[in-house]
């Protein structure tokens, strides 16, 4: 972690050993899970970039976390509840105003089931 920011960034982007080069993400599969349409060129580009980032976060393995609890939140607040009271909310027109397709106050969504022939 020495040198100025630019040189550190450059060094970071140079994989440090062959073992780490093997860290790979199945970009096609992950893109499908995340519902992101990618071109073949993008798949290639992201595969390398994501591998670089993974290599970096592998540094965490240097930290011994045996017997340490997780910290999912830092406020210490738990079970924050409020009275379930009726109060004004958006009208259907307001709620659907930004939708590209709506009908009678409802959103029109793409069909996910097919009709049985």
């Amino acid at each position: 972690m020495r040198g100025n920011l630019s040189t550190r960034l450059l060094r970071h982007n140079t994989p440090r050993n062959d073992k780490k080069l093997n860290m790979k993400i199945d970009v096609k599969h992950i893109a499908k899970l995340a519902n992101l349409p990618l071109s073949v060129d993008e798949e290639k580009k992201f595969e390398q970039q994501l591998a670089d980032t993974l290599n970096y976060i592998e540094e965490l393995n240097e930290v011994n976390t045996e017997g340490i609890e997780i910290t999912p939140q830092v406020t210490g607040l738990e079970n924050v509840l409020e009275e379930d009271t009726v109060r004004p909310s958006l009208t259907q027109d307001e709620a659907t105003a930004n939708a590209k397709n709506s009908h009678n106050g409802f959103f029109i969504v793409p069909a996910i089931l097919e009709e049985n022939a």
């Binding site: 992101l36 993974l54 976060i57 965490l60 340490i68 793409p110």
Partner: protein
């Protein structure tokens, strides 16, 4: 006098004495935006008509003797805060036509306090970045030198204040997004304790660290805006019921007997020119009678890895809602940075990898939290550089998937721990670019942080340095 040079505190006084009107003040800023913003690109949307209408209304209220904390004061709002009836894009093409039907709590509180909104400030798309180069609406330029980056993600908010295009602005920080652009643009940026300011209506990035806060010309202005924003909100269950303190009234209180922590772990890799300015600033505190103590802190380099995992994971979940059905465009409109982050987060949360990444990161987060808790038993506050370098040239973030994390290495640990911090300007490099120093404290220590920052401002002239534009 040039109205656009006024601080919030000065403008408020002149408005109250009726030396100026809100319309005059608002026009001065709108003119400034017209002259400069083609060059700087600090704004995504300028709301000229609404601003003038609201300024007229404010003048009427002032004439009737009304006194509100921001009455008639023009502000810029980062474009990830929902504004009712005003386009809110988070600088992404996915939301380029989205007009929210409601106000975020931050905006509602500012409106209730009498703010005149000038427009929506540019940012990294979805707040993903530290440069504004991921914005789908062009990069914001640093007012000190337009060949350089303003930092980010709240780069538009910071540049607008530095260029006197706004009295003050609102930013949001997940890990560095207020402090780092404030540092690179030479202005004051306050990241409150997580849970101090409501996230309701803010386009979510990493929900467990997102913290809205003010970017201002002076420390006192920062206290004035925090006073309005701080407090519990029924719409955000993570806001704390702990009563906010009176930041404005206490800002000039003595800091006699204070112990300031400094750490070699926060000097490593810092540009020597930047570190020299921080060392000079620490000497100012020494002269004021503060006790300086060297402390050992957990290496910030691990915070980068923790932050990367937590943030990418939370991003992948938060950005799942953008389906182009209820509002906005479909997912093909995401830029490269959002796609990278969503995919990495999807991977780190996926079956078989969750324990190795997300859970591991949450455990190291515990170490970071406890490390700060231990440190704050010995010292009242911790001081370091905000960013390892001054502003970097345009284009620096391109093809560096970890650019933001490296630029934010010194602010990430405190963000992960949910702690407050403030950036204040402490001088210029030989190249004429601002250097920023951060003051970090324990949870809910905003008052102390502001007091310490205020003392430095009283002793020095750095906050009065302005770019020539």
């Amino acid at each position: 006098m040039d109205l656009h040079t006024l601080t919030l505190t000065q403008a408020k006084e002149k408005l109250a004495k009726k030396e100026i009107s809100s319309v005059e003040l608002t026009r001065a800023y709108l003119d400034r935006i017209k002259t400069l913003d083609q060059k700087l690109n600090a704004f995504v949307t300028v709301t000229e008509d609404e601003a003038l209408k609201n300024a007229e209304h404010a003048d009427k209220l002032i004439a009737h003797g009304e006194d509100l904390p921001l009455l008639g004061i023009p502000l810029a709002i980062k474009d990830n805060f929902s504004t009712k009836g005003i386009r809110t894009t988070a600088s992404s093409k996915v939301l380029d036509t989205y007009v929210p039907p409601f106000d975020s709590t931050v905006v509602k509180r500012l409106k209730d306090a009498g703010m005149v909104m000038l427009g929506k400030a540019n940012m990294d798309a979805w707040a993903h970045g530290s440069s504004t180069e991921t914005s789908d609406f062009g990069t914001t330029k640093n007012p000190w030198n337009t060949d350089f980056l303003p930092g980010g993600s709240s780069g538009g908010s910071a540049a607008a204040v530095a260029a006197n295009e706004s009295v003050a602005s609102i930013g949001s920080e997940t890990a560095g997004s207020i402090r780092q652009p404030a540092s690179w643009c030479g202005v004051v940026g306050l990241k409150p304790t997580y849970g101090r300011v409501s996230r309701y209506g803010v386009v979510a990035m990493a929900s467990s660290t997102d913290s809205p806060g003010p970017i201002t010309k002076t420390v006192e202005d920062s206290a004035r805006i925090l006073q309005i924003l701080a407090g519990v909100d029924v719409h955000d269950a993570t806001t704390s019921p702990t009563q906010p303190e009176n930041y404005v009234a206490a800002i000039r209180d003595s800091i006699q007997g204070i112990t300031i922590g400094i750490s070699d772990d926060y000097r490593e890799g810092v540009d020597p020119e930047v570190q020299a300015k921080i060392d000079e600033a620490i000497k100012v505190y020494e002269r004021l009678g503060a006790k300086i103590k060297n402390i050992k802190l957990f290496s910030p380099k691990y915070a980068i890895a923790v932050y990367t995992i937590l943030q990418r994971s939370e991003v992948s979940s938060n950005l799942a809602r953008y389906d182009g059905i209820r509002y906005g465009n479909d997912r093909s409109h995401f830029g490269d940075e959002a796609k990278r982050r969503v995919m990495l987060g999807t991977y780190t949360l996926s079956a078989g990898y969750y324990d190795a990444y997300y859970k591991k990161a949450q455990k190291v987060r515990t170490i970071i939290v406890e490390d700060f808790t231990t440190a704050f038993k010995d010292v009242d506050i911790i001081i370091s550089a905000t960013s390892p370098s001054a502003a970097l040239p345009l284009g620096s973030s391109k093809n560096h998937p970890m650019f933001g994390e490296m630029a934010d290495i010194l602010v990430e640990p405190s963000s992960i721990a949910g702690l407050p911090g403030i950036n204040i300007p402490v001088g210029l490099t030989q190249a004429g670019l601002p250097v920023g120093m951060q003051i970090m404290g324990p949870q809910w220590s905003e008052k102390k942080i502001l007091q310490v920052a205020q003392k430095f401002e009283e002793e020095t002239e750095f906050h009065t340095l302005k770019p020539s534009l």
